[in-house]
Symmetry: C2
Subunit: 119 residues, 2 copies
C-alpha cells in the first residue's frame, strides 16, 4: 500500500529517484528506490528527519504555523518533503532536471492516501 | 546598497514581507522589513541560520552538492532562502498567498549583485 503510493509519485515524475515515508523520529516506514544504487535512502532518510526537526523548531518559534512543504535544491538533487501530520512525513528525491511541479503535484495527491493508510 | 537590493526583492513581490542578508553564523548584515511589526527579523534570521546549517550538513553527508535554494511553506508564511556562497545567504519572507515565482525570480536576479557588493 505505502510502497505502491510512493512508487506512483516517483515513477510518475520524470527524474524521480526515490521516495520515503518516515516518522518524525527518523524511522522509515517504507522506502522506494527507482534506480537501485543511485540513492542510499537509509542515509537520505535520516538526514531528512534532521532537516524536518530543525524546520519544525524554527516554524514553531517563528509562530509561522506548521511547516507543510519543504523544497531543497542542491547541485545534484532536488528534495521535496511534505509533512503528513505531526508524526509522519513523505520525501521524494528528484534529479536536478526533474519535473519539479509534477513531483510536487503527485506528492500532494498521494498525501491524503498515505494518511488514510497510516490510520 | 544591500538595503536597496533587499528592498527591490521584497517590494517587487506581491506579498513580500521582509528580507535579510545574513552570514552563515547567523549574524545579520542587512535587514529590510516592509511592514514593521509584522515580522521580527532578528528572530526570523536566527532561525534561518539554524535551518541553513542543518540543510548544509545534510547536503554534505548526502553528497548532494551545495544546497542552493530552500523553500519552506508553512500555514502563515513562505520562506525562500538562497545561498550566495559558503559564508552568506539571503532570505525572504512572503505571505502564504504571495507571488512565489516572482519572489524567487527577483531573489535569483539580486544574488550576483549582493555577492558583488559583499566582495
Amino acid at each position: 500500500m505505502f510502497l505502491q503510493l510512493l512508487r506512483d509519485v516517483v515513477d510518475g515524475t520524470d527524474g524521480g529517484l526515490a521516495g520515503i515515508l518516515m516518522d518524525a523520529q527518523g524511522i522509515p516506514v517504507e522506502t522506494y528506490v527507482r534506480a537501485p544504487g543511485g540513492v542510499d535512502m537509509a542515509v537520505v532518510g535520516a538526514e531528512y528527519s534532521v532537516i524536518v526537526k530543525s524546520i519544525r523548531r524554527a516554524a514553531e518559534s517563528l509562530d509561522a504555523g506548521g511547516a507543510r512543504e519543504i523544497a531543497i535544491q542542491s547541485d545534484k538533487m532536488t528534495t521535496l518533503i511534505r509533512m503528513l501530520n505531526d508524526d509522519y512525513f513523505v520525501a521524494v528525491a528528484l534529479s536536478p532536471d526533474a519535473n519539479f511541479g509534477k513531483g510536487r503535484y503527485l506528492m500532494r495527491a498521494a498525501a491524503p492516501k498515505l494518511l488514510a493508510a497510516l490510520a
